[in-house]
């Protein structure tokens, strides 16, 4: 599965995207964020206030409890500031 990061989340993790092989028990986006946060200190810090993190599956905005099954691209990013 491909993960995209944007804005200060991308900067704090020092990467814009990565490919990951997920363990079988990672079922939702919330599970994925917890799993990412457990990998290293930078990630733990980046995902500290995880309620702030917005999420999309295959370029559709979704909530943290959305199942990952079947999705190819997950995007994680801070609140949007366009316009």
């Amino acid at each position: 599965m491909k993960i995209l990061y944007f804005a200060w989340l991308r900067e704090r993790l020092n990467r814009g995207e990565e490919e990951v092989d997920l363990p079988a028990d990672i079922l939702t986006i919330a599970d994925l964020i917890s799993w990412l946060a457990d990998r290293d200190e930078a990630a733990a810090l980046a995902f500290e206030k995880r309620a702030l993190i917005k999420t999309a599956l295959d370029a559709r905005l979704v909530s943290h409890d959305t199942p990952l099954a079947g999705a190819k691209v997950v995007a994680l990013f801070p609140p949007m500031t366009g316009g």
């Binding site: 944007f6 366009g82 316009g83």
Partner: protein
């Protein structure tokens, strides 16, 4: 409907004339143009917008479709740039046409209120003091909430 997410420069007047030519017989056209601001007491050297283009197109299309059906618009256009811009350059332009002016005004405002909070762009300002990410404003959430 015309939805564009682009790194190319934006010519507000040329876009307005093209929109008006298509929507002319509806009678009322409301336009909003957002520019890189730089005030004497809040100096900005440049603004860089990061974007997730696939999601931006999906979100802006959904916002435009909602405005079109809610306000019975004749036509609607959203153009949003990303990349690096200097003070005075246009960032975004929305245009709505309708038979009556209130519908056109309301639609342009709804489009702006929604895209501030729902479209995947992130602003990074460079000021004399350095470069920082612009924080999301609760005022923008409030502006969006009034349409629900």
């Amino acid at each position: 409907m015309d939805i564009r997410v682009t790194q190319a420069p934006l010519d507000p007047g040329a876009e307005a004339n093209a929109f008006i030519a298509r929507a002319a017989h509806a009678g009322a056209v409301a336009t909003f143009t957002g520019l890189v601001r730089s005030m004497p007491n809040d100096s900005i050297l440049s603004l860089t917008l990061e974007c997730y283009p696939e999601l931006a197109i999906n979100q802006l299309t959904a916002i435009a479709a909602a405005a079109q059906s809610r306000f019975a618009l004749a036509d609607v256009t959203i153009i949003h740039r990303y990349g690096r811009m200097l003070p005075g350059e246009p960032i975004v332009q929305v245009m709505a046409s309708a038979p009556h002016r209130q519908a056109a005004f309301d639609a342009a405002q709804l489009l702006m209120d929604h895209l501030k909070t729902d479209a995947p762009f992130w602003k990074q300002e460079t000021t004399p003091a350095g470069t920082h990410w612009v924080e999301a404003k609760s005022a923008d959430d409030d502006a969006r909430a009034r349409w629900q």
